[in-house]
């Protein structure tokens, strides 16, 4: 049957179902198909902290949103154009996010009195006139058709029904003209050891596709053309995967073994999982007894000459604070990765937030400054990890790398870099004495662990096993140069200021900020950091499309702040700072530059929307 094909420039689809319905996998496969097809895309998984909340209830709903387009996009989309709802709870939990006119594809199988009641519906919403008139609703018995299609494989009814997500994926793949080979190959690989399951899933997938083709339910197919991309090899990558790869790259480019000390915590654990697979590149992963032991072991390994890394989320940073302070005063390289989540306390483990900035800045006893780096997109986590390691190794300091839940689990296409093009990092280990004692006849004869490099103020990294460099370091204040315990008031004042000055010196190594202000005459500047990059840039697009001027600058380095930031801020009449917190960067900018920064502060556990950003900009005009 010939179908009408409509061309679209972009589509946002949200797959939603029960936690056990395989929605993350379905979304991930659709994403891979779209990536291979050549669309630009971004994804937003959203799932409960509970592994299996009661089936069919609102708390058990898991969803995966993918935004794909024929042009470069910046976010996973403010609102879905299409909702695929696998049960009543999924419909109820997501309906409020849909704009009028959106398409809903709903599996009617679970719309029984009992399941409707579990989802909190009084009646059947599919008979609700308002729903039917506001949205394009396609009510289809996906489960029933799946069970029928896979009958021949002799699976239990329950196992047969589990393939319904592949039926849905097949249908959506047909609707948007996605290539099917990658998913068939994937299923054959994943279920290779269970032929019945494999065949059932492949059959469900192809039956879903064929259903779209043969039924009259869908009168229109859609086409979203590939987006222009620079030449190169691409892959789709999540932030956690990119961050783990960046750490490995830093180890390779510095010639150091990588030592990760970590304790499992959502949403950071995938970095531990990923790094534990790369022992062949000299990566040691240590799953510690607690957060403190994780950083303790990483610091010990750093002392002994490894690239030491610890990965965690906000609650873990709180536990590690004392050890981070020790790393500050020992002046050893260490990367502390904080994949931020909603707080305080346990908060929202699977949701995103940016509320650990001030914890990273100030969350230690005493004056304990450290450099802070934040990636802006999932793939940028790779470069940010390399940058954090560069600063840590060069300046002999712990560095906080602030990712977040949105970056960690979200994904986008990434142009894979050439290893040879990645920056090299020189560990520059100390190899010989650096101080001449009064009685010495032949030059330097003793080793002073706190004698500094004049350019960077970094101290020598002298690892055990280096003859003649035996020395003691510790958490007590050390004398300038020689490093022995010192309670001298003037020395303490000097050491506190020197540690702060060293962190400030990092700014010498930063490239000038890039201000996006095409006409150069905008009066409003939007300053952001971290994962708000996409929503801010998308909001700015909307404002410019509406004919207004607005400038954007995005910060990768939160400490030290780039030297040119003060000048840039002073060039604009109004400064807007959108953040997923109650104004933490605003506070820093106000304190540092006396600038009247206006906040756009949203803490819903979800990324900002571009519309929110656009509205906030327009309010300032």
């Amino acid at each position: 049957m010939p179908q009408q094909v409509t061309r679209l420039d972009r589509v946002v689809i949200r797959f939603a179902g029960d936690s056990g319905d395989g929605m993350q996998l379905t979304g991930d496969r659709f994403t891979q198909e779209s990536a291979v097809f050549g669309n630009d895309l971004m994804t937003l998984p959203n799932f409960p902290a509970e592994i299996r909340a009661p089936q069919g209830t609102i708390p058990g709903v898991s969803s995966f949103q993918v935004h794909f387009a024929d042009h470069q996009i910046l976010t996973a989309g403010d609102a879905p154009d299409v909702l695929v709802a696998m049960n009543p709870a999924a419909l109820k939990a997501n309906l409020a996010d849909l704009p009028k006119g959106a398409t809903i594809i709903v599996d009617t199988h679970d719309f029984t009195a009992r399941n409707l009641q579990k989802a909190g519906y009084d009646g059947d919403p599919l008979e609700d006139e308002q729903l039917l008139s506001n949205y394009q609703v396609h009510a289809v018995d996906l489960t029933g058709m799946t069970v029928e299609a896979v009958k021949e494989f002799g699976l239990s009814r329950k196992d047969a029904a589990r393939a319904k997500n592949m039926f849905a994926l097949g249908l959506l793949s047909w609707l948007y003209g996605r290539p099917t080979e990658p998913t068939v190959t994937f299923l054959e690989r994943r279920f290779g050891r269970a032929p019945h399951i494999r065949d059932a899933n492949v059959t469900a997938f192809t039956t879903g596709w064929n259903f779209g083709e043969t039924t009259e339910t869908f009168a229109v197919r859609y086409e979203v053309a590939p987006a222009p991309q620079a030449p190169g090899t691409y892959r789709n990558i999540t932030g956690n995967l990119a961050l783990a790869s960046g750490l490995v790259a830093a180890a390779v480019r510095s010639g150091l073994p990588l030592f990760l000390g970590s304790y499992p915590i959502t949403p950071a654990s995938d970095i531990l999982h990923e790094l534990s697979k790369h022992k062949g590149m000299g990566v040691t992963t240590f799953q510690a007894e607690d957060e403190i032991a994780g950083i303790g072991a990483a610091l010990g390994a750093a002392y002994a000459g490894s690239l030491g890394v610890t990965t965690t989320s906000g609650p873990g940073v709180a536990l590690k604070s004392e050890a981070i302070g020790l790393a500050v005063t020992l002046e050893l390289p260490l990367v502390v990765v904080d994949v931020q989540r909603g707080g305080p306390s346990t908060g929202l483990p699977t949701k995103t937030e940016q509320a650990d900035l001030l914890q990273a800045m100030f969350g230690r006893n005493g004056e304990a400054p450290l450099p802070i780096v934040a990636p802006s997109t999932p793939s940028d986590c790779f470069d940010a990890a390399l940058e954090a390691a560069r600063i840590a190794i060069t300046y002999r300091t712990p560095v906080m790398l602030l990712s977040d839940g949105y970056l960690a689990n979200g994904s986008e296409p990434w142009r894979v870099p050439d290893v040879a093009d990645l920056p090299e990092i020189d560990p520059a280990f100390a190899t010989e004495p650096n101080h001449t004692s009064p009685g010495s006849a032949n030059g330097a004869d003793t080793f002073w662990p706190y004698l500094r490099d004049q350019a960077t103020l970094a101290r020598p990294w002298a690892v055990p096993g280096t003859p003649g460099l035996e020395h003691r370091i510790g958490g007590l204040e050390k004398g300038d140069g020689h490093g022995n315990i010192s309670y001298d008031p003037a020395n303490h004042d000097l050491m506190v200021r020197t540690r702060a000055a060293k962190v400030e010196r990092v700014a010498d190594s930063l490239a000038p900020l890039v201000v996006d202000d095409p006409s150069g005459s905008a009066q409003v500047l939007v300053v952001g950091w971290g994962s708000t990059y996409g929503p801010i840039a998308a909001g700015i697009r909307l404002v410019r499309e509406a004919g207004h001027e607005v400038a954007q600058v995005h910060l990768r380095h939160l400490n030290p702040l780039p030297r040119d930031l003060g000048d840039i801020l002073s060039r604009y009449d109004r400064v807007l700072v959108p953040e997923m917190n109650l104004g933490q960067l605003s506070l820093l900018l106000r304190a540092r530059y006396l600038v009247d920064a206006v906040g756009l502060n949203v803490v819903r556990g979800l990324p900002l929307t571009s519309a929110e950003v656009a509205n906030a900009i327009e309010e300032l005009m």
């Binding site: 040691t284 096993g465 035996e470």
Partner: protein, 326 residues
């Protein structure tokens, strides 16, 4: 190569030079109170280290917080005075990343058993190749005299004016419960015994816990007088393999190499309700160490391919579904 049967120091480079105690003495003034048991232990360690014949730069002492934790400052080796209770964790990172280092932890009853109790038991169960010297003076000294997790019930201290109601840990029982592979007890004032236990602990491949009864002359003077000097008499039970021991009416021959720790644990309870205190090696068994196995996993993965690190990184970056735009 199987590292299972190696000695604790097998992979640490040795020195050709004749060493003496002075070589291990740093230029820092020792700042413990006069009469502190720590002096005796420091002296014993400084005299004993040359016997190991290791390269000095390949020895690392890590400590936590407390009087005993100042120990690394006074030894001319590599050393780190870290934070309260965390030395076993830091030492685990050092030992796991470097087979060529002899790693020692110096800690006290508060540091190891109170704030750092978790790290201690996990280092012991993992069997990380560390030698842990636990200075037990049954009191908090550096904070000026509060009761510790090894203080006896009823003890009157600054923070327990009407007597402590905390039931104390027996560090040897705790270590045996944590499935440590080497557990011993010795006394600060008995140089010969102390040195022999240190030698056995250093030679052990795996986590070795040595409890050292150590006198605090300021806040808990005489805590161990019963087992010191001529009065010790029958109070002190010097453990040797094959020694006939009796606890709770049951008699057996002590066997530190027994894999089943039941008898060794029973022995650690000898002092409960009696005036007899066993010292010496309670347990000494072989079990693969965490650090050896971690390194073996890495080495196996490295050896599985002839590709360079850069080539492997390239493969890693291109993993998964990729596509090419020309």
């Amino acid at each position: 190569m199987s590292t299972h049967a190696l000695s604790g120091l097998e992979l640490v480079p040795t020195s050709d030079e004749q060493q003496n105690g002075k070589d291990y003495t740093s230029d820092q003034e020792v700042r413990w109170c006069p009469g502190c048991g720590d002096y005796a232990v420091l002296k014993a360690v400084q005299s004993f280290l040359p016997d190991l014949g290791l390269r000095r730069e390949n020895i690392v002492f890590v400590s936590g917080i407390g009087c005993s934790s100042r120990f690394p400052y006074y030894l001319d080796t590599f050393g780190m005075h870290s934070i309260h209770g965390r030395a076993p964790a830091i030492a685990t990172g050092i030992a796991t990343s470097r087979p060529d280092l002899s790693v020692w932890v110096v800690t006290g009853d508060g540091d190891a058993l109170s704030i750092g109790g978790n790290h201690l038991i996990h280092a012991l169960r993992r069997n990380v190749n560390l030698t842990i010297l636990l200075f037990n003076n049954r009191i908090y000294g550096l904070t000026k005299g509060q009761y510790s997790p090894t203080s006896e019930e009823g003890k009157v201290t600054k923070s327990t004016p009407v007597g402590s109601i905390d039931h104390p840990f027996n560090p040897v029982s705790l270590a045996l419960g944590a499935e440590a592979t080497f557990v011993a007890r010795t006394i600060d004032s008995d140089r010969k015994h102390l040195t022999s236990v240190l030698a056995a602990a250093a030679a052990h491949r795996g986590a070795a816990l040595v409890e050292i009864y150590q006198n605090c002359p300021i806040f808990n003077d005489g805590a161990f007088d019963d087992v010191k000097g001529p009065e010790a008499g029958d109070h002190l039970v010097r453990l040797e393999p094959g020694l006939e021991v009796t606890v709770g009416g049951r008699t057996w021959l002590h066997d530190p190499s027994a894999v089943d720790p039941s008898d060794q644990f029973a022995l650690s309870r000898m002092s409960e309700g009696t005036d007899r205190v066993p010292v010496g090696v309670f347990r000494q068994v072989q079990r693969p160490t965490y650090d050896d196995q971690a390194r073996e996993q890495v080495a196996t993965a490295v050896d599985a391919s002839t590709a360079s690190r850069e080539e492997r990184l390239t493969a890693l970056l291109h993993a998964g579904d990729t596509w090419t735009v020309v």
